[in-house]
């Protein structure tokens, strides 16, 4: 578990980027604690808001010199619409960093970073860190439409190995991020894949990585009520070190999981061999 801070973070910038918004927040003490893959939560409205639950966002960048963290928001519903409308100078209740970050190698590796939509947000800081360690990175970035791609320029600033796809063909190749995955792994001789995006994408990426016999680390987008590990609403069925499957929390055990351990096909169910399934009347 991360060692988070809770503070009133001032909005220093709020920029529209395609279909998304990038919030730059002044958060003294937080950036030093952030590792790529950590996430943050923001409370919506004030103490009397009718929207009780915090919203969780992966941390896009953290700058210890400036004392800032940057989050990428998509206005999905009433809560995120309210956050996206935050003016410069507003103060937001921030808790960060939270969760378990991407594991980092001790030495240089060749890694493929796969982002679907704004699920790519944490991958650029990760890419920079992998390069700093002497490694090599390639990106596959995809989305349904061109305006829903995130960070293409940032990826290109890190490496020439950037593949862009949209499902409607409005930018780059036509298709999904999983389509060129095997080929891209081979092209850069990647030994590990890091991915962020919706669950079906991560399931697909994990399946291909398994076929190729390489490691895959996935940052899941699970709905959370608390984000700090006390509500138990954001669970996934995951195979543990001991071979037993359990429901584990995306917020504290994740959001980054070894993609080979997540039982993607069983999301939304209680598998019969899950620890404690029998008590729910589920039998194998």
């Amino acid at each position: 578990m991360a060692n988070p801070l809770q503070l009133r973070a001032e909005v220093l910038a709020n920029r529209s980027e395609g279909a998304y918004h990038r919030l730059v927040l002044r958060a003294p003490g937080v950036p030093e604690r952030v590792r790529p893959g950590h996430f943050a939560t923001l409370a919506v409205g004030g103490e009397s808001s009718a929207l009780l639950l915090r919203r969780a966002f992966s941390i896009h960048r953290a700058d210890p010199v400036e004392g800032t963290v940057e989050l990428v928001l998509a206005a999905h519903g009433a809560g995120t619409r309210e956050l996206v409308a935050s003016p410069v100078g507003a103060e937001l209740d921030l808790i960060a960093p939270l969760g378990t970050p991407f594991p980092l190698p001790d030495g240089p590796v060749s890694a493929l970073l796969v982002g679907d939509g704004y699920g790519s947000a944490p991958l650029f800081a990760l890419g920079a860190e992998l390069l700093r360690r002497g490694g090599q990175v390639g990106f596959i970035l995809g989305a349904a439409t061109a305006d829903r791609l995130y960070g293409v320029d940032q990826a290109r600033a890190l490496t020439p190995d950037v593949l862009v796809l949209t499902e409607d063909g409005s930018l780059g190749l036509t298709g999904r991020v999983t389509d060129p995955l095997a080929q891209a792994v081979e092209a850069i001789d990647a030994t590990v894949v890091h991915a962020g995006g919706p669950m079906p994408t991560l399931a697909g990426v994990s399946a291909i990585a398994a076929e190729l016999g390489i490691r895959v680390h996935t940052s899941v987008e699970a709905e959370m009520a608390c984000g700090v590990g006390i509500c138990m609403s954001c669970v996934l069925p995951v195979v543990g070190e001991d071979g037993r499957s359990r429901f584990v929390r995306s917020c504290t055990d994740g959001p980054v999981f070894d993609g080979a351990r997540v039982r993607w096909a069983d999301l939304g169910t209680v598998p019969a061999d899950l620890e404690g399934a029998a008590a729910m009347g589920v039998h194998g």
């Binding site: 509500c231 609403s233 939304g268 209680v270 404690g276």
Partner: protein, 335 residues
Amino acid sequence: MSGDARMVGDAPVIAAEDVDLSAPLGPLTLPNPLSTASGCAGYGRELARFVPLDQLGTVTTKTIMPYPRSGEAAPRMAETPSGMLNAIGLQGSGIEAFVRQELPWLAERGARVLVSIAGERLEEFTETAERLNGQPGVVGIEVNISGPNVADRGLVFACNPATSYDVVRAVRAVADPQLPVYAKLTPDVTSITEIAAACVHAGADGLSMINTALGLAIDLDTLRPALAAGAGGLSGPALRPIAVRCVYQVHAAMLAGRIPQVPILGMGGIRNGRDALEFTLAGAAGVAVGTALFQDPAAPLRILAELRELLAARGLAKYTDAVGLAHRADSQRTS
């Protein structure tokens, strides 16, 4: 807070720091009346990053059963206006894992632990309760006879006075006499005073009021119930007037002599000092914070500070002086 400061009659002004917040829990006097509500603080480990657990009156654990339980499939949660629905399904590793791994950690941090227990059969309640005897840090047992996340709502013990009586009596019989036994009641009943009376007559040392109310939300994209389990428990401020009504009714029945007087731990949508005071005036001798922890894990200490100021502004030198004050003028009308 200045707009909230109203004097009661000619009551003297008291400095907030002079207000005595101590509150009773069975044979113990707690330093303050604030607890966490079961299911909203896990087993304390994660919350401890935001609140020193020894500064809370008690930490009420997530409900513990005798054996591991996976809980419900996801999605387990849906936000609703001023509230949320949950169907977690009492996920947990069981009493042995709790006693071995969680309780010593809590005790080391000086937490006073109110352990919430449940079972599907009476023996499962007593098995779990017995295992807590002599364990460090445990200051009481909350018997969750009202968990809504069970397959058949008809099986909820707290919907029936006779089954409520049986469970509480059985737990009281096996639990360490030094450990107060609180019964956790559901608002989803015709007469909560009838259930409360059954629990107190069975030997409950206190009542925890209330559990979530059963609700349901439908996802307009999937055209299906939003929770995998279908229905779930409604919590948060949307529930508060129902909870305050329940506490008021039961406290009134105690004042009228229809139920022996025992402390009530009030909960349901408390997110600031005003809410905590409202429950107290209705008759709660302690208050628990639940869903507000999800919005602000540091809420308990803020709520305590606000409560202290509100008591001082009303000339109330002791928290216990405020318990049930709303009944002074009329203890019959809504009972």
